[in-house]
């Protein structure tokens, strides 16, 4: 789901730099109000966990690969605004140092994985886990479902951004300038991989970690409990 350089035209990646610029600015403002010093070690853990999780590439039939992201887990533990921050940092380091995701696409990739995913995941979790005791079956299942749906939403946005390119950016003779595959290809392919496989990996990781944290330090889950 890491869009490389060259797949999005300037109109698209520029727009996303504008949108994410605003979201990053706003998350800074929000964190100034809500971030507590005792959350700092958890910020570091959330970023570290997301980075390492994304290194586990999983093959799917057809020769493609994908991975879980951990953004909803980060949002459940840290709150959605802190998740925006730590997942964005992770994506920026992946792009700059490891060439995973393009530098022109940092904002688009952050929009999908560091904004859409933690925010959608966080609110789905809040609704599904409302009133459930810490460490209860319902809370752990709620974490899994929110991980599953939020990863699929992020993948859908990624597919739309890529699939728009052959509609909006062509050479005068009609050849695609950037991503060559239209929405009719990008959406089914991206959505299939995530609905069939990667979403379940995200669900399992999110549930497992929430269950583990509920055992280790249940108080941590109270902060953002529904």
């Amino acid at each position: 789901m890491h869009i490389p350089d060259g797949y999005l035209g300037p109109a698209t990646y520029g727009t996303f730099y504008g949108i994410m610029g605003f979201i990053w600015f706003w998350s800074g403002k929000m964190l100034n109000r809500v971030l507590k010093t005792k959350q700092i070690p958890w910020l570091a853990l959330g970023a570290a966990f997301s980075f390492i999780l994304m290194m586990f590439n999983i093959p799917i039939p057809g020769g493609s690969t994908g991975h879980a992201v951990g953004a909803t887990l980060a949002a459940i533990i840290l709150g959605p605004w802190a998740a925006v921050m730590v997942i964005s940092i992770t994506l920026i380091i992946q792009a700059l140092l490891f060439g995973d995701g393009g530098i022109t696409a940092i904002a688009a990739n952050s929009f999908n994985m560091a904004f859409i995913m933690p925010f959608s995941g966080y609110y789905i979790y809040k609704i599904l886990s409302a009133g459930a005791p810490i460490g209860s079956k319902r809370q752990i299942i709620a974490a899994g479902i929110s991980g599953y749906i939020s990863l699929n939403l992020a993948a859908l946005f990624c597919a739309i951004e890529l699939g728009l390119q052959p509609i909006i950016a062509l050479t005068p003779d009609g050849t695609p300038l950037y991503c060559p595959y239209p929405l009719s290809v990008s959406i089914p392919v991206m959505v299939f991989g995530h609905i069939a496989i990667f979403g379940f990996v995200e669900a399992a990781v999110t549930s497992l970690m929430v269950a583990y944290i509920a055992k280790l330090d249940p108080d941590l889950l109270k902060i953002h409990h529904g």
């Binding site: 700092i40 390492i52 140092l97 991503c179 991206m190 330090d217």
Partner: protein, 118 residues
């Protein structure tokens, strides 16, 4: 007393989770077993094979950045053992960097608001 107990519990949890992350760093080369490329992340050469051409803008923009440790590989390490070692070193460097930056940013943000310390 109860407050101290709570702090201990949290410190223990943080320690245990760092051990999990360290373990995952050493297991990360399992991610290399997936030999394919994620959809929409092909190199120019792969695209040439797939399409018969490389989209003009993609070829131009694709060269905009040369990452130091592209594809989580260390340039001087080769072969299967080299790839595995590269991946583990990349995992450690990446985990170290993102957690350090998050930690520092967290410090900067909270230092402006002492009232959040409670």
């Amino acid at each position: 007393m109860a407050e101290k107990e709570k702090t201990n519990q949290e410190t223990r949890a943080i320690k245990k989770l760092w051990i999990v992350i360290a373990l995952l760093c050493f297991l990360s080369p399992l991610g290399l077993l997936a030999s394919g490329t994620a959809w929409g992340e092909w190199s120019s050469e792969q695209l040439r094979t797939m399409l018969g051409y490389i989209p003009e803008g993609l070829e131009r923009l694709g060269k905009i950045w040369n990452a130091l440790l592209a594809d989580y590989s260390i340039p001087s390490l080769h072969g299967t053992a080299g790839n595995i070692l590269s991946y583990i070193i990349s995992a450690v460097i990446g985990v170290g960097l993102v957690s350090f930056i998050s930690f520092i940013l967290g410090k900067i943000i909270t230092s402006r608001h002492g009232k959040n310390d409670a």
